[in-house]
């Protein structure tokens, strides 16, 4: 009896509020379950090693969804922002983790990673956001690759005279004898004191959820979605298009930068190669499979598709192939007029079989 009442009140609540609560709930429940499993020693090693990457990809997927799903622009360079965040945040961490109190250095590392990625988001956004559709996709792809290539060839050292930078090799840094190489080209940053944990990952996921869900459900978020739905109409009612495109793009970059820090501080070495085209596409697959503009879908897709290959090690080699096929199938299923018509027919059939349920569902969708 009492249960029913709670349920009825729940249904009366604002739909957005319900959605948000469920999303936070899913994350918290997953967190608790994992904590219990690991405390009782029931967590497989192969999974516990994936916890931080899962959180990373969830943040990546939600943040990319802001650009792809809510703003409606196809960005193929998301891993580039992750990389910028990872390198800047890790660099700060390596330099300061012994001198500053660890929690302070850690929080600062995350902030720096986010800010650096955000600044680059702004710089890249200026030319990129003038483009549309395929052009924007191609240019973001190129930027992602440029960032990877530059970081892959970057040498940075520190000695008593200060920082030394080179794009050639460690020798040309020209450091004193007391010098220390911080970024060693393709070898990247080594000897990182690991700091990421599942708890930190979950906190970052919750922060991302908070920022993105509240943003898309506010005045600015409405403006962002209006550009996606009809740019010309948005212009005609005075929405500043560039401002809101920028807002979505930069917010997305900041969050990706923080995800990069989380990811990097989970290992002892950091190399630029990790953040290539494949990673950008992988995150895009999460977004598309989870549903454009569907935050819960992003969480689930990123989690499932990060765990699955670990569990199915034998087919891991075919991972990108399977994703590509899934991506195409999903596009056809959600975009092709024939597939949409077929789905509508199926929904009607199911409704006809269960008239009561079908009607309720329809009311809910409205």
């Amino acid at each position: 009896m009492k249960n029913m009442k709670v349920f009825a009140n729940w249904k009366k609540l604002d739909k957005n509020f319900r959605e948000k609560t469920v999303n936070y709930g899913i994350v918290l429940v997953a967190f608790l379950v994992i904590q219990i499993l690991s405390a009782t020693g029931n967590l497989k090693n192969s999974i516990s090693g994936q916890l931080v990457p899962i959180c990373t990809y969830v943040v990546m997927a939600i943040s990319l969804n802001l650009v792809v799903g809510f703003l409606g622009e196809l960005s193929l360079g998301h891993a580039g922002f992750m990389s910028l965040g990872a390198f800047s945040g890790t660099l700060f961490w390596v330099l300061n983790c012994e001198t500053l109190p660890r929690p302070v250095a850690l929080i600062a590392a995350f902030l720096i990673g986010g800010v650096v990625a955000g600044i680059f988001g702004f710089i890249i956004g200026i030319p990129v956001l003038r483009l549309r559709g395929d052009y924007l996709a191609i240019v973001t792809l190129a930027f992602g690759e440029i960032i990877k290539t530059v970081l892959n060839a970057l040498y940075l050292g520190l000695d008593s005279n200060g920082f030394h930078l080179s794009m050639k090799d460690t020798m040309s840094l020209g450091m004193e004898a007391d010098g220390k190489v911080l970024i060693n080209g393709a070898i990247g940053i080594t000897g990182i004191s690991k700091a990421s944990s599942f708890v930190i990952g979950i906190v970052l996921v919750l922060i991302t959820l908070f920022v993105v869900m509240n943003l898309v459900d506010s005045r600015a978020g409405r403006a962002i979605k209006s550009i996606r739905d009809n740019r010309i109409a948005a212009e005609s009612i005075g929405i500043p298009i560039t401002k809101y495109k920028m807002m979505a793009f930069i917010t997305s970059a900041v969050l990706a930068g923080m995800a990069g820090v989380l990811y990097a501080l989970n290992y002892s070495t950091l190399v630029a190669k990790k953040f290539d085209y494949n990673t950008s596409i992988l995150v895009l697959v999460f977004v598309v499979l989870g549903g454009m503009g569907n935050i819960r879908g992003s969480i689930i897709a990123a989690t499932v598709l990060t765990i699955l290959p670990e569990l199915l090690r034998s087919v891991a080699d075919y991972r990108m192939l399977v994703y590509a096929i899934l991506l195409i199938a999903m596009m056809i299923f959600t975009q092709s007029p024939k597939a949409i018509a077929w789905r509508a027919v199926m929904v009607e059939k199911i409704k006809a079989r269960r008239p009561g349920k079908g009607k309720m569902k329809q009311g809910e969708e409205g």
Binding site: K225, D229, E235, S236
Partner: protein
Amino acid sequence: MALLEVRNLGIAFGGLQAVSQLDMTIETGHLYGLIGPNGAGKTTAFNMLTGMYTPTEGNITLDGVDITGKTPEFISKHGVARTFQNIRLFDGLSVLDNVKLGLHNQMKYSMWDGIFRTPKYRVKEAEMNHQAMKLLKIFDLDKEANLLASSLPYGKQRKLEIARALATNPKLLLLDEPAAGMNPQETDELMKTVRFVRDEFGIAILLIEHDMNFVMGICEEITVLDHGQCIAHGTGKEVRNNPKVVAAYLGGE
């Protein structure tokens, strides 16, 4: 000084002179019609008035401000709102959100207020909801507020577009074929609503319409375009009996 002054306005697309030497003067509170056969350049004129196209000659002054060739955003902020011949709603958003977007430049709070759900966010959102519902009520759309805009029937989508345009608090409202696709009863209702809007909001309305009963029944002043040229101007009666207009329509059909 009149609210809208259009002088010698023209635009060419490559070799095609879509509109040329168009003059119009519209006073606040007026209902003004722009008619002409298909392809006459009516929608193109709207596109210039709203900054979607940049005129190649002439100028447009709104309430003393030169808006010739300005951006749609600038022109919207200075008080021109429009609807589109082929409806342009935000399909993925609710009916209510469509109208709230029209209020975007009226009731403001920052991105941070939105993310952190500050008191300002709550106050402004409540204000927006209130104002948007008031507008929806005028168009008898308040019961559909939470439906997706795309799920509305055609006639209601047209009305929603007008409600959204009005939400921007315009001085001049441009309606591009508002009665297209409506049945006679809906058209009748729309006529009343358009008059009501003019009286209630005290704004000028410029409309394009092929339904002659609608135009003649509602507009105090009419300009007729043909092949981009103004061929007649005056009251409904004057225009209807103008031989050039009769010829243009007969020739066009």
